[in-house]
């Protein structure tokens, strides 16, 4: 980091050039004081592309990347089951870390990372997750302002094709952090905890594995209750049937218009594949840096991002997303608030890290926040297995 300035440049690296890694690139480029200086991946091909396009250092291992003297901070978008190993390595080398969700597979691992970051005097931010996105932050602000009275009920309801999009082995294996409870629950519980203030008291849930060919959680129904008694529910199905975009103005997760006329497209595409490695190859080809999806022009999305239907109910009003902002169903009238989506969720991730490192501003999505979200994911899995309510013990409050 270039010292001695109010706004020094932070040298940033991305480890893992898959979907998440590629999606973070525009945010790094956009931040005025961030510079991408390095990248790492196990595959040579995306590294060659990224080196050619962006003139950065490349590394075949995270261990090697962590030794680089040209890197201040690393975004770890590596497979979930490697998060702990990679994060500890980076933190011990004095690198600030942005860690993809879920941050780990156990609370002990999460705690080790948090304590290591503290001991090494570096920042740990967990993200991207959807409470970084403008609509969720705006809901949080309105709830917190008290203008609609106390929060009374909170819902997130999301039906997608997650289970049938091209997946790698880790994404379909719960023991490796796969399945929708770990991968998508991390978003839902993050959204719910951020709007609801963070302190979940208990969880009662059931998960579903509906397709023996993809033996990991593809659905869940989760009842959550905050310390103050406020109830919330999170429902997810990744089985590519009914899509919640039907009830969110046709808008999908990235703010794009969902193609609702092509029914069951993800499942159909998957069925047409042949050969054992076909799915993994397709995933690499489309998601990796240099692949089809990563090359898409990064024009701004026409709408704010929708992580399904989020509905916050306060004593004197409900709030949900409109096509271009929020709708407030108030005491006397219903009004739409447009939202400026110039700053994307990933822009906010990069900003949060930068502000933590340079301006010593505690990150909202700290290691402890990520650990709280992970605790909910684990409680959902445990509640489903034991068929009983799980009381939580590691929740922290959302920042004021």
């Amino acid at each position: 980091m270039a010292e001695g300035q109010d706004t020094p440049t932070l040298r940033f690296a991305i480890a893992g050039l898959g979907t998440a890694g590629c999606m973070m690139l525009p945010a790094v480029h956009k931040h005025p004081h961030m510079q991408l200086t390095a990248a790492a991946d196990v595959d040579a091909e995306p590294l060659e592309h990224v080196q050619r396009d962006l003139q950065v250092e490349i590394h075949r291992t995270v261990a090697e990347l962590c030794q680089s003297p040209n890197v201040d901070a690393i975004y770890l978008a590596t497979p979930t089951h490697l998060h702990t190993e990679h994060a500890l390595m980076a933190l011990e080398q004095g690198k600030h870390v942005v860690l993809e969700k879920p941050m780990a597979l156990t609370l002990d691992d999460a705690e080790r990372m948090i304590q290591t970051a503290e001991r090494c005097g570096v920042q740990l931010v967990v993200g991207h997750s959807h409470s970084f996105e403008r609509p969720i932050r705006a809901m949080r602000e309105i709830v917190q302002s008290g203008e609609l009275g106390r929060l009374r009920m909170l819902h997130n309801w999301y039906f997608t094709d997650w289970m049938y999009r091209p997946r790698n082995v880790g994404e379909l294996n719960t023991a490796l952090g796969g399945g929708v409870t770990f991968r998508q629950g991390s978003h839902q519980f993050d959204i719910i905890r951020m709007i609801g203030g963070g302190l979940v008291r208990s969880v009662r849930a059931m998960t579903g594995v509906w397709d023996a060919q993809r033996p990991t959680e593809g659905s869940h129904v989760v009842y959550l209750e905050f310390e103050d008694g406020t109830p919330a529910a999170a429902v997810y199905s990744g089985y590519d049937r009914f899509h919640t975009a039907e009830i969110t103005f046709g808008v999908g997760e990235q703010g794009q218009l969902a193609n609702l006329s092509a029914y069951g497209r993800a499942r159909q595409a998957l069925r047409s594949l042949e050969g054992d490695d076909a799915e993994a190859s397709l995933k690499r080809a489309s998601a990796q840096y240099g692949g089809a999806r990563s090359r898409q022009p990064s024009e701004p999305a026409p709408h704010p991002p929708f992580y399904g239907l989020t509905l916050a109910s306060c004593e004197r009003g409900d709030i949900r997303q409109s096509a271009d902002g929020l709708t407030i169903y108030g005491e006397h009238n219903k009004r739409d608030i447009p939202l400026d989506t110039g700053e994307t969720g990933r822009d906010a991730v990069v900003r949060e890290l930068y502000d933590a490192v340079v301006h010593h501003r505690p990150p909202a999505h700290s290691g402890r926040w990520g650990k709280s979200n992970l605790e909910v994911c684990l409680a959902v899995l445990e509640s489903a297995q034991k068929r009983q309510e799980i009381v939580l013990a590691h929740q922290i409050a959302a920042p004021a």
Copy 2:
């Protein structure tokens, strides 16, 4: 009952000429072998109207009605807290009974009614509730057919203006059977139990009282789990903000198009009332027989009834209501099934009673079915109060 025929005429009486009583009238008139012979109410005015219009016996008390030799069956649409007294009276007099939901306020009272009906050799049907309606029955049929595989998840989500429509004292007092958990939960849990097979294992829930002026449950979030592990969620808000008609094609509970442009209308109308008795008077004036609402032309509704958003997810497909029937989100395609709504839910109530009495066909919505629904309502209230999961003990299976 006129004996000695295959299709004898059943002489029917209605006790309580409020909203529910008036809504049952067309179904009685429509049934080819039902004859309305008597009515009872505490108020003279609706009785005079009904006598003038329909030339039936009138009674000022249920006790008196139960003595009538011209009555075979009574629909009890009297206040909830009087159900037990009235039903026992009618059953002891050898009258068949259709009892409004919730059937009672305690499981003991429900059991007394069930046993009394058995001892007296008469039929007890609990209804109307929304699993009598065609869309719910059709969902149940498809789930039970197994064509989409095992049921995996079930939701009913309903946001209305229930709390701010004109209410009488009993409707706003939980101790008298008021509030949305008793009054509307009786529909939701009935829908969920009918589609899901009936056997709920446990309930975890939180209720909400958001308006000190109307101190009864106006909302709830309910997690239910069936014996076989299938999860379900029921969400209700009666606070007249966001309406689920927005996500059910604009169609309301009776199949009519909801007026979504007039925001917060129920609350506004209520605020404009003056005087202590104004709300009760308005309720009587609009809902009682002879009042504004009861005089509305009984043209068929343009769409099937929608009790909010009901979504059933099976292993190989989701089902929800379309504007005119059901949408099946299947393995390979999505298709709409139109539904014949010539038989309304209340027509089905009357048919179910008739078939039970005359053709000895066990009613689906028996006393034990109603008791099972009541058990869920009570468990929701208990779970909310104790903040813990409640395991159920009186559930019966839905009829095959």
